[in-house]
């Protein structure tokens, strides 16, 4: 895949709407994430940024609009102008190319760190155990936790658990990584280790969509930034511009509270 601006966007959203019953969470989101880009989503809680992230890998179904990942519709197939829902199996197979990291880690507590990382390659991709183990050890080494391979999640700190969770997502060799407030549940002194791992990923050219409250990370690593509030994109641009010179009142008032 080339880096040129003419390439297919990794994520494209067109007037995406999502509501939970009467509650409208997303009210027409338009955005594009280019390949190899680090795309940051910021905004107050309840603004819909996490919901939008979950729509990208179809953990939530959108109600209106269109959403594409790597040129393919998310959750549907279009044929002669009609939309057909994808079967569970097809949805699952598309998710294999999209890694996701959760705020609360969601490691499997009954498996060791190594088993967590090996689980999907062995049981979804049908990779041999030996080769999955070898790759899992390399990934754990990459996130700085090779020595924790035999430990259970309950024996790891929050920061270590989150880094294992990143390794687990990378084990499927995704083309896109989604991060849902990956450092929000961590003690302040553990945040740095996780951000370092994410910075390394960005340098290796991984396409990343990051919902975050870490403005320092967004400014330093981000290629694009969107400020969301009340289900709409209020302001978009390069992180340094938006964060240092916000144009909208709502952006200004939000940033004045978090910076």
């Amino acid at each position: 895949m080339s880096e040129s601006s003419g390439a297919v966007p990794m994520v494209r959203a067109e007037r995406v709407h999502k509501s939970f019953g009467p509650l409208k969470v997303l009210k027409g989101i338009d955005l594009e994430v280019a390949p190899r880009e680090v795309f940051c989503l910021i905004g107050p809680s309840g603004s819909g940024k996490s919901t939008f992230l979950r729509c990208i890998n179809h953990l939530e179904k959108i109600n209106a609009g269109r959403l594409w990942v790597d040129g393919e519709l998310v959750g549907y197939r279009q044929h002669r102008g009609k939309l057909y829902e994808l079967k569970d199996r097809e949805v699952a197979s598309k998710r294999r190319d999209i890694g996701m990291v959760f705020q609360r880690f969601n490691l499997f507590p009954h498996m060791t760190a190594l088993e967590n990382v090996m689980e999907a390659p062995v049981h979804v991709k049908r990779e041999s155990k030996a080769s999955a183990r070898e790759r899992a050890m390399k990934l754990l080494d990459r996130v700085g936790l090779a020595d924790k391979a035999p430990n259970y999640p309950s024996q790891l700190s929050g920061g270590q658990q989150q880094r294992v969770a990143i390794a687990r997502a990378l084990a499927m060799e995704p083309k896109l990584m989604l991060f849902d407030e990956p450092t929000s549940a961590l003690d302040p002194e553990l945040v740095g280790d996780v951000l370092d791992v994410m910075r390394g990923l960005a340098e290796d050219g991984m396409t990343m969509v990051v919902v975050t409250h870490e403005m320092g990370f967004a400014r330093e690593v981000g290629d694009a930034l969107v400020f969301m509030d009340d289900g709409v994109v209020v302001e978009a641009g390069h992180p340094r511009e938006v964060l240092t010179n916000p144009q909208h009142e709502r952006t200004k008032s939000f940033l004045s509270k978090v910076l």
Binding site: D88, A92, F108, P109, E119, Y152, R168, A169, M172
Partner: protein, 311 residues
């Protein structure tokens, strides 16, 4: 500065200050424990005395304890318990998954099954199974066909009656277990591209086990005793054996005592097994494992002993 060690000239400066004297106090006396123990023991003694004065031939119990018929009944009871529980657990898991399925047909079927089997007494169900010949004169499974009366043996009626009823209860236990697992676990495995079935087998059920095992042990012990109802379909279980032996030997009530002793022995053995199984599943989640029964008995005896004041 008024630090005491500075003031005392006799204290050697190099020696660390001595640790304070250990507390010597008279412990609280638990008179209530002694009183309740005396009351309980005397009531038990009176009951025991009444039984010893009754017209009971206690010698018959040890005489027939290892009687061939009785042992055959014990074997049949244990065997039936295992098979009925196996059927109950297997079908219960299937029903629980159906009940939680997004498929409305599956979910409604499971709901109906549970509603029906929990709504009728198991004794009635046993009687219905053995008498279903009134509806089905013959059975034809393609590869196997027979008269219903020959097909529905007492053993099969007992197994189906107990196992299918148990499945309804197990389904609810398994459902509670599945629902106790954090939703984030399902989301994480879906995000990795795992299918619903794989998520259930690899992620949800292993974590649900901790909630499922204790009530299942309870069901197991319950089943062991409920098998005594299969006398309704003339299956030769422990109770049937005791009654047969009782009518032959003329010691009918004594044989009921004998059967009770056997039931208590069997449930005790299974209770111990259940306790250690639960202990195993508590590993990793509980910080400290609960004490084994022996450790607990020893701890209780120690508390009854007169407390020593100072050691």
């Amino acid at each position: 500065m008024t630090v005491p060690t500075d003031k005392e000239p006799s204290a050697t400066p190099a020696a660390p200050p001595p640790s304070p004297e250990a507390i010597v106090a008279i412990p609280v006396r638990h008179y209530g424990r002694w009183i309740s123990a005396v009351v309980a023991l005397s009531v038990l003694g009176l009951i025991g005395y009444a039984f010893s004065q009754g017209d009971v031939n206690y010698g018959a119990i040890p005489d027939y304890f290892f009687n061939d018929q009785i042992l055959r009944g014990v074997r049949n009871t244990v065997w039936l318990t295992f098979l009925a529980m196996l059927l109950g657990v297997g079908l219960g898991v299937v029903l629980a998954v159906m009940r939680l399925s997004k498929n409305p047909v599956n979910s409604a079927l499971a709901w109906f099954y549970i509603w029906f089997f929990r709504g009728t007494p198991v004794y009635v169900q046993l009687l219905v199974w053995i008498n279903l010949g009134i509806v089905f004169k013959t059975i034809n499974l393609g590869f196997y066909q027979d008269e219903w009366a020959d097909f529905m043996t007492p053993f099969l009626a007992a197994l189906l009656g107990l196992g299918l009823n148990e499945a309804a209860y197990m389904a609810e236990i398994v459902r509670a277990g599945i629902q106790s697992v954090d939703e984030g676990q399902t989301e994480a495995s879906h995000a990795l591209g795992m299918s619903h079935g794989k998520t259930l087998r690899r992620v949800v059920l292993p974590q649900a086990m901790r909630v499922i095992v204790p009530p299942t042990g309870n069901e197991f012990i319950n089943m062991l005793k409920t098998t005594s109802l299969v006398i309704a379909v003339a299956y030769f279980d422990l109770l049937q054996a005791a009654q047969d032996v009782g009518s032959e030997s003329g010691a009918a009530v004594e044989m009921l005592f004998l059967a009770s002793v056997w039931y208590v022995i069997l449930t005790t053995v299974f209770s111990i097994g259940q306790y250690y199984l639960e202990r195993r599943y508590a590993r990793g989640s509980a910080r400290r494992l609960p004490p084994t029964p022996f450790q607990r008995v020893r701890a209780n005896l120690r508390s009854l002993r007169r407390p020593e004041v100072a050691k």
